[in-house]
């Protein structure tokens, strides 16, 4: 699949200057996204949760009207009326309809005569390897089988563009692999009439395995920060050194872009000072990650892709943890490598009290919101303050959801480090138990 050949192919999707806001105007999800998709390619949208890649997918599907810009399907000589179908992460099957009825859903809506619809549905079921299950209800099927139904339902309407929203992330590793291979086989053998596939994923290996082109998204707001062409021949081999190199390269790019988008020396999360959005990373995850990198075989220095493999984590889960370590100066992200600092090595060797002390020290020095809460509590005679106050304060800088999550994270960390106490019932911070 040569690059030049793809470039000559007619355009199928065009996205120009797309911007999207959530909850009024205050939260920008997608910022100035431009994208062109040609016939004959599989393109991956890679990014973490909150990077707006699903929003982009839904804009192209016509499910969401973007706040600004356009997302459209381009009619061409061989596809005068381009159409889309979508495969959902949660399968989105109707539990009260049989496999056959689920597959026929789109055909019925198009008023295709019943006998013809039946024949096409049976053919799609056959193609996707579900024969014998026509009359089963979705609840009788395993996750992999259900997603096959989702796939058959999408293919049966002969879409020009197949949209896939994290189609394999709800499946176990083996099942996901089988489904991926089957889909790629159908695609490369030309047994499905689809012209292009656009797939949203946060799994780097999946993207490299399937796509001809990968667009890397940043978070908050979502922007395209990198485009990677994958020229490896299909079928691709995960153990191929070229494959590994590409995965490492993408990890490095995803790390690198955080330094570009957040130039402040405070950290990598959007916003600075108390306005920094903090992801929900538990103190146990932090401890676990430090221990893993500190121990053999990593000895304090691990490549992100190997770490993801050994911890069975997706990039989407690993990045917030690694960046939290960096925020607390427990580690440094150098390219695609995570390197522990001396403080982290001490943490790994310490007992419970020493760990808490180190953690508290890191919080007090590097997390402005913790300092802020502690200062307010110290200043008040009662040594108490309602959490609502801080949540309101955060909402001046970020959306309600992010404010809530950030405060939860800080509460979790602060309680563990015994910097302050929190009473859930009263929704108040205090110094009471902390001393």
């Amino acid at each position: 699949m040569a690059t030049a050949a793809i470039a000559e192919k007619p355009l199928l999707v065009e996205v120009k200057g797309l911007r999207h806001y959530y909850s009024g105007q205050d939260h920008l999800v997608l910022d100035d996204v431009n994208l062109e998709l040609s016939q004959g390619e599989i393109v991956g949208l890679l990014g973490r949760s909150g990077s707006g890649k699903s929003t982009l997918l839904r804009s192209i599907a016509g499910l969401i009207r973007p706040s600004e810009g356009i997302a459209r399907l381009v009619p061409g000589p061989d596809v005068p009326d381009p159409s889309v179908a979508m495969v959902f992460q949660t399968f989105a099957l109707f539990p009260w309809l049989t496999v056959l009825e689920n597959v026929e859903l789109g055909l019925e809506a198009q008023k295709i005569p019943a006998p013809q619809a039946r024949a096409r549905a049976l053919a799609a079921i056959d193609l996707i390897g579900l024969d014998g299950f026509e009359n089963a209800y979705p609840k009788e099927l395993s996750g992999g089988m259900r997603q096959r139904v989702g796939l058959a339902r999408a293919l049966v309407v002969d879409p020009s563009l197949l949209l896939m929203d994290e189609p394999f992330s709800a499946l176990d590793v083996l099942t996901a692999e089988t489904l991926r291979t089957d889909l790629l086989d159908l695609w490369s053998e030309g047994r499905v009439p689809i012209k292009s596939i656009l797939i949203v994923t946060h799994n780097i290996e999946e993207a490299v395995l399937m796509c001809d082109r990968i667009l890397v998204f940043s978070t908050n707001p979502g922007r395209v920060v990198g485009e990677i062409r994958v020229d490896l021949p299909q079928p691709r081999d995960r153990l191929d050194p070229a494959f590994r190199a590409l995965v490492d390269d993408i990890y490095a790019r995803m790390t690198a872009r955080t330094e570009i988008t957040a130039p402040m020396r405070d950290g990598l999360f959007p916003g600075t000072g108390i306005a920094m959005v903090l992801p929900r990373v538990s103190t146990n995850s932090i401890a676990g990650l430090i221990e893993e990198v500190d121990g053999t075989p990593f000895e304090g220095r691990a490549s992100m892709s190997e770490l993801a493999d050994s911890l069975q984590l997706e990039a989407d889960e690993l990045f917030p943890m690694a960046e939290t370590l960096q925020l607390l100066r427990f580690a440094e992200l150098r390219g695609a490598e995570l390197v522990l600092t001396p403080a982290a090595r001490r943490y790994a060797q310490g007992d419970v009290d020493q760990r808490k002390a180190l953690f508290a020290q890191a919080l007090n020095q590097h997390v402005p919101l913790v300092q802020h809460i502690r200062r307010v509590l110290d200043e008040r005679a009662s040594h108490e303050a309602p959490a609502r106050r801080f949540r309101d304060e955060l909402e001046d800088y970020m959306s309600e959801d992010y404010a809530d999550e950030t405060l939860r994270t800080v509460t979790l960390w602060g309680r563990y480090a015994e910097i302050f106490a929190y009473d859930e019932e009263a929704d108040r911070f205090s110094l009471e138990d902390a001393r």
Binding site: R58, A61, G62, L63, I64, R65, V84, A85, M86, F88, Q89, T90, F91, A92, F94, P95, W96, L97, T98, E101, L105, G106, E108, A109, Q110, K111, A114, N135, Y137, P138, K139, E140, R146, R153, V157, E425
Partner: protein, 581 residues
């Protein structure tokens, strides 16, 4: 397995019907039952449209042989109301969920209507419907059906609305991606998704409806007295004549009817609706119904369900041809249109305020309002004391039963049956007792308010106690957690959300029941307890519309206040703090 699937395609359904030619024993049983029901149905329907004079010519007699006919008339009324409520629900709730503007008006209206004492409606509706069908029984019938309707429609619509709002986004997106028209989407997604909750709610509402059947069949409003043939008026007649045997017969007939429609109608529907439960794992325990099994075995099911399929196909005939893709969420209306809408709502609100104020000022003085509020406080004290007493009695019993699965299995349906049983038929016995021992009505009439509603507390507590996870109970056993500590840390947190649900229903029901419970009669003896209920009841009897309206308004405010200030915060607290999952 799935008859509705076949009904969408005419050919297989027809070939299935052909198989009926080979009769079996089940066929015979099913046929006889259907035929019997059919005959009763037509006889009863005939009576409902007869001229009004027949009511005078053939007054309700106390002949037990007439009871089956009366029972059928009553049941027909209830099913007519249920049908109307279902249609109302499907239309209004769907509208509220689909249109933002409609939702803004409908949702709060339903919420408030749920709290309005239904018996208060009777006064207005009887006059209205009798004017609508002058000289025909149909007017009185309609008023009675409407009374039952008002006891069912609001909470059915509210529950369906909530179901529609909780449809998973990905399913909605799938209907849009595959370009389902609004009608098809309703049939394929909205209706199936909402069905289990709707069926359950209809069943509970039907139980509630009995209470109002008894009260609405024999009604006196000012100078108008209407007595419809039915179990309710049979009972009323028995009470006036002080015929003890007739009361017992009516009660027995009612019990039989409740069991019959539960077995013949609701159980099969619950068993059928189970397939629409939104779950992705096959459940082990599915609702059982012998009637449903019978229908399935005789292959009568497609025939029974055929009308539903036909209605669906009829609706689809109106479907627009081109499958247009729709965009998620509401399209922003034109700002000018938005303005006009707001102005219209404001005008309607002001107009309603003006009309109400003028009407109230014309007929009432301030002192009336003070009286009504004071009486409401008296009734409120009754409700609070009774709920507290009922809780003290039924919570320990419910927990005891709930922790023993063998007992719970048998007693849970019994408690539900008792909740369905109209307690007002038992009032005469209490009146006789009060008269006999010369007791104070202000105190001794009070228990009547909770007679029918206490069971909600019981069966919810049973459900809660059986839902306490076994591992928690075993852990408590292992650490020898006993006595008060056990109640404080195991039982009460375990049942709390369930208890609140039960107590909320019981308290709402008790307010409503106060209208019939605070003023009761046996023969010519009338007993009255002071309270808002008897205030409304007396105003109804004397045809004093202004005072009925005032009483109903005040009671609605009290019930709403109770729900908002006590039960909902308690429920939220339980959800937040005491969820066991």
């Amino acid at each position: 397995m799935s008859p509705d699937r076949n009904s969408a395609r005419p050919l297989p359904a027809f070939s299935r019907m052909l198989r009926l030619t080979r009769p079996s024993r089940e066929d015979a049983i099913a046929f006889v039952i259907l035929a019997g029901l059919g005959v009763l149905f037509f006889r009863a329907a005939e009576g409902a449209v007869a001229p009004l004079s027949t009511l005078q010519m053939a007054p309700v007699t106390l002949d037990p042989w007439d009871l089956p006919y009366y029972a059928m008339r009553t049941v027909l009324r209830m099913f007519a109301a249920l049908f109307a409520s279902t249609v109302f629900t499907l239309v209004v709730a769907t509208l509220a969920a689909r249109s933002r503007h409609a939702g803004q008006l409908i949702v709060p209206a339903l919420d408030i209507l749920q709290s309005v004492p239904i018996l208060g409606f009777l006064t207005f509706t009887v006059t209205f419907f009798m004017g609508l069908f002058p000289g025909s029984v149909a007017g009185v019938e309609a008023a009675s059906i409407f009374a039952i309707f008002t006891s069912q429609a609001w909470n059915m619509a509210f529950s369906f609305y909530q179901s529609l709002r909780s449809i998973p986004t990905d399913l909605e997106e799938a209907t849009m991606i595959y370009r389902l028209s609004p009608i098809r989407r309703f049939l394929k997604l909205d209706l199936p998704f909402g069905t289990p909750a709707l069926v359950w709610n209809a069943m509970m509402s039907m139980s509630g409806g009995w209470f109002f059947v008894v009260a609405s069949e024999a009604i006196t409003v000012g100078n108008t007295t209407a007595t419809l043939p039915g179990i309710g008026s049979y009972l009323a007649q028995a009470i006036t004549k002080q015929d003890f045997r007739a009361v017992a017969e009516a009660v027995g007939a009612m019990a039989l009817v409740i069991v019959a429609y539960d077995q013949l109608f609701f159980r099969p529907i619950v068993a059928w609706a189970d397939r629409f439960r939104f779950e992705m794992t096959a459940s082990t325990e599915r609702p059982q119904s012998w009637v449903f099994d019978l229908l399935r075995r005789t292959r009568l099911l497609p025939v029974v369900l055929a009308p539903l399929g036909a209605i669906g196909r009829l609706l689809l005939a109106f479907e627009p041809r081109a499958g247009r893709r729709r965009v998620m969420g509401e399209r922003q209306a034109h700002p000018a249109l938005e303005r006009i809408w707001q102005v219209l709502v404001a005008i309607a609100v002001l107009g309603a305020l003006f009309l109400t104020a003028r009407y109230v000022m014309h007929y009432l003085v301030w002192r009336d309002a003070v009286t009504a509020v004071l009486l409401a406080c008296v009734t409120m004290i009754r409700v609070i004391v009774l709920i507290a007493l009922a809780s003290l009695i039924w919570v320990p019993i419910g927990v005891w039963i709930g922790l023993r699965p063998a007992w719970a299995e048998r007693l849970q349906p019994l408690a539900q049956f008792l909740a369905a049983f109209p307690a007002n038929v038992l009032f005469p016995f209490v009146v006789m007792a009060i008269v006999h021992w010369n007791l104070a009505p202000d105190i001794w009439l009070s228990p009547l308010m909770i007679l029918g509603t206490q069971w909600y507390i019981l069966f919810n507590v049973i459900a809660g106690a059986s839902a306490i996870p076994t591992d928690l109970r075993e852990a408590a056993d292992m650490f020898h957690v006993r006595g008060w500590q056990w109640w404080r840390q195991v039982a009460i947190p375990g049942i709390f959300p369930y208890y609140v649900t039960g107590a909320l229903t019981a308290s709402g029901g008790s307010w409503n029941a106060s209208i019939v419970a605070e003023a009761v009669s046996w023969g010519h003896r009338n007993l009255v307890a002071h309270g808002l209920g008897s205030y409304i009841a007396e105003a109804t009897t004397s045809g004093d519309y202004a005072r009925v309206a005032l009483g109903v308004g005040v009671m609605s405010l009290f019930v709403l206040g109770f729900n908002r200030l006590l039960w909902r915060p308690l429920y939220a607290y339980g959800e937040r703090r005491m969820r066991l999952t």
